[in-house]
Symmetry: C2
Subunit: 232 residues, 2 copies
DNA sequence: ATATAAACGTGACGCAGGTCACACTTAATA
DNA sequence: TATTAAGTGTGACCTGCGTCACGTTTATAT
């Protein structure tokens, strides 16, 4: 069932305030709090859906989220993942009248739904806040460029190696982690198919590069994985 | 030879001022003019190069520019095109210490090189200017997402059809135009190879969909081209 | 506890498209 | 107008990987 938990918020005393919001005045923080609702969702719940009109920007306080959209052939493609401290949906808010992509929780998440108009107001009045948001948008986009080109040019082994290295180095900072994704997700991330992921994972296991137990992954030979990522 | 033509600029009386710059005060426009150099380049010249430290944001006044980067396998990939009114290099300026992509003129271009610090200053002081820039960044990124997913999922015919339709509908607004790209460029845009482009173009010609004379393209059957784009 | 739906494993098949090699044509430069 | 470089056309080859089909296992819900 659908279970939305609303928490009380006051932004002014937020324990996990964003870099950008640090530039807001007390008055602006109050304004922010007025337009903000604090919510918790569980794995599989959608934060917002592609194609629908948008109303909020989401500040991710806790949890792991996939940002994705449906391609022309109907297959889903993961654009990126979001982690605590990220804002979600800014591009749609500023650049479109509807959501141009979806966001889905991959585990229990704790979110602040910020009213779109409130957010836009702050952008248009506080230049420091705005600049900080812009900086994070730009960094984000630079990552996209890399990913875009990599997915264009690498073969499936390289793409999968990239995905595994991403989780090990960027997300969990450990060679031993629990994949928060299904193989279908992994395929949607890497621009390939579930079947290819299955086969390649088996290859990696047989090659002594990783071990897999359900979703538990351990990277045994990171050097080889990096080599596969590079020339794949 | 290298022939850079510096023109005199004063921003305050610019005949092609950007939407964002309209929000600048007279004083800010003067500051902008101080940090800006007006330059003309010819086809093939690079506006800035991936990997080098950046110093400027470029405002494109006239001409057509490709924005591109080198992939992991050394092949070039076109990220997007820029047309008059666009700012180039903002992502690198705000999100990195070096240029993370290159920009190259595809025809004679007229540019304003804006000092990076000047630009950053304006971003950090004038919220309306900042918001307007952010809006264009967001729109840009949304287009990017579409392209990203399309290139992932379409076959080569679909990708080529997309490219041709892009020029006909977005750039030249005519079914009859001169491609500003080589076939190598078309391949770098579509994420395929020169040879495949050659073969597919021939297919399109044989199918009565287009005619080609050197770089002169005429679209004879746009309906079919759109169908190819959709289910390709 | 049982039903239903996701998620995963695996083999067989086929072809889209990448690679290589070389000839030819057009454009650029001195 | 000669020389070089860049761009294009085309055939032969071959393999990576998508598709289909079906069986099995693991979650999820009632």
């Amino acid at each position: 069932m659908f279970e939305i938990i609303k928490n009380k918020t006051t932004c002014t005393n937020c324990g996990f305030i964003s870099q950008a919001a640090k530039y807001l005045t007390k008055a602006e923080l109050k304004e922010l709090a007025q337009g903000t609702v604090d919510v918790s969702l569980k794995r599989g719940d959608k934060l917002f859906v592609e194609g629908l009109p948008h109303s909020h920007v989401i500040y991710l306080r806790e949890g792991f989220v996939k940002v994705h959209m449906t391609g022309p052939n109907g297959r889903d493609q993961i654009l990126k993942f979001a982690r605590p401290g990220a804002y979600l949906g800014i591009q749609s808010l500023m650049g479109s009248d509807i959501n141009r992509f979806s966001a889905t929780a991959l585990e229990k998440v704790h979110l602040c739904y910020i009213n779109g108009n409130t957010f836009k107001n702050l952008i248009q009045t506080n230049a420091s806040f705005s600049a900080e948001i812009m900086t994070s948008l730009c960094k984000d986009e630079l990552n996209y460029f890399e990913r875009f080109v990599s997915l264009q040019q690498k073969n499936n082994s390289g793409k999968l190696a990239d995905a595994l290295l991403y989780f090990a180095e960027r997300v969990f900072e450990s060679d031993n982690f629990t994949l928060p994704l299904t193989y279908v997700d992994l395929a949607a991330l890497s621009g390939t198919t579930r079947e290819s992921i299955t086969r390649l994972m088996k290859d990696f296991v047989n090659g002594g590069i990783i071990t897999v137990d359900h979703r538990e992954i351990e990277i045994l030979n990171k050097a080889i994985l990096k080599k596969i990522s590079e020339n794949g």
